[in-house]
Symmetry: C2
Amino acid sequence: MQLFYKANFEQDAILDEIDSKHCIRVLRKKEGDEIMVTDGIGNLFTCQIADANQKKTKLNILATQREFEKPKRHIKVVIAPTKNIDRMEYFVEKAVEIGISEISFILTKNSERKHLKLDRLNRIAVSAMKQSLKAYLPDLTNLVTIKEYLGQAETAKQKFVAHLNEKSTDLTTNDIGDSVCIMVGPEGDFDPSEIEMAEAAGYEMVSMGHSRLRTETAGLVAVTLLNMI
Amino acid sequence: MQLFYKANFEQDAILDEIDSKHCIRVLRKKEGDEIMVTDGIGNLFTCQIADANQKKTKLNILATQREFEKPKRHIKVVIAPTKNIDRMEYFVEKAVEIGISEISFILTKNSERKHLKLDRLNRIAVSAMKQSLKAYLPDLTNLVTIKEYLGQAETAKQKFVAHLNEKSTDLTTNDIGDSVCIMVGPEGDFDPSEIEMAEAAGYEMVSMGHSRLRTETAGLVAVTLLNMI
């Protein structure tokens, strides 16, 4: 099955130009054929092609599944982008496949990457959502300093920092509720002052096993465990 | 801390040419300086440089830690290589970082990749072992058909196939012992005849959550869960 994505699809059941071309020219779909569309906020639409236009494919919605495979909890990862952007792109792709609701990017003292092309990461998220047949597109929010980030109101009920030190407990030994956020440091780790700031903002320190993990690996281990435990 | 790797180091405490150059020319280590070396079979050596030769750095072993951070269980993943080799390389890197003992590669009916450069994957495994400060280098075994693979004696006490079907139980609900093997299918999934073969060979079907995961993602989720549960 191939899944298409269109924001606000219910208000305007027309595929964008790129998707129209893909659907009609590449996949050779015709009037009357059925395809699946998601709006990225939990709706999965079964549609019939009403007008097989290569630029503006018009669809009729035959059936709507609301809250399609709704995640069991809201999982947010706050992560310092890696110097090598491929590693961050890979993280976004895998996190979406495994299941994530929100990704925020932070700038820390030891961050080597100071800029981020959020558009490209959003495209990777859309593509991973379609590939893994999900109906929820995670929110990606642009790079802010860790101080700015911690200054904002955090809606997650449980807040963790991934850190290997003597105060850390294992993530899996925590009783995880329906809304959780985990912060992952840069290559070179958080500065001690940043850990203090996070603790003052109510973050608890957790470890994810004994391995010294790269930033993007720590993020993926967190996403996997928060989906499974 | 930087970790060096040399097989059979205890018998011959000399760094290979590439590592000697890295140690003496790049890191500018001198006679009397201390460095760490592993032999990939669980030994971590604290060494002193006896001869700072750029081609053959001779070392004296000052201290030996045996079974350094020994994994709690023997984890083996048997996986069908992906068409895009980057995805397999990424899998090897992340699996080593998180913790794995053995990786075997299988050729299945739906496999799009029929050849594998095991040397390159071994180099990636060595580099990931050093980067994540581990003393165990996983065994990588070359591509064989799934039939040949299942025909060999399997030493793992528990054997699973990652598969989403009505008979699958959740991997996390199994009581996992000290030696486990999990088989992961290709893009396009196993052929039903292959699942039958695996079942006849004593493999149990397990799922790793509800997501439709890519091959390399399924492998990583398995490695993460088997390290944590």
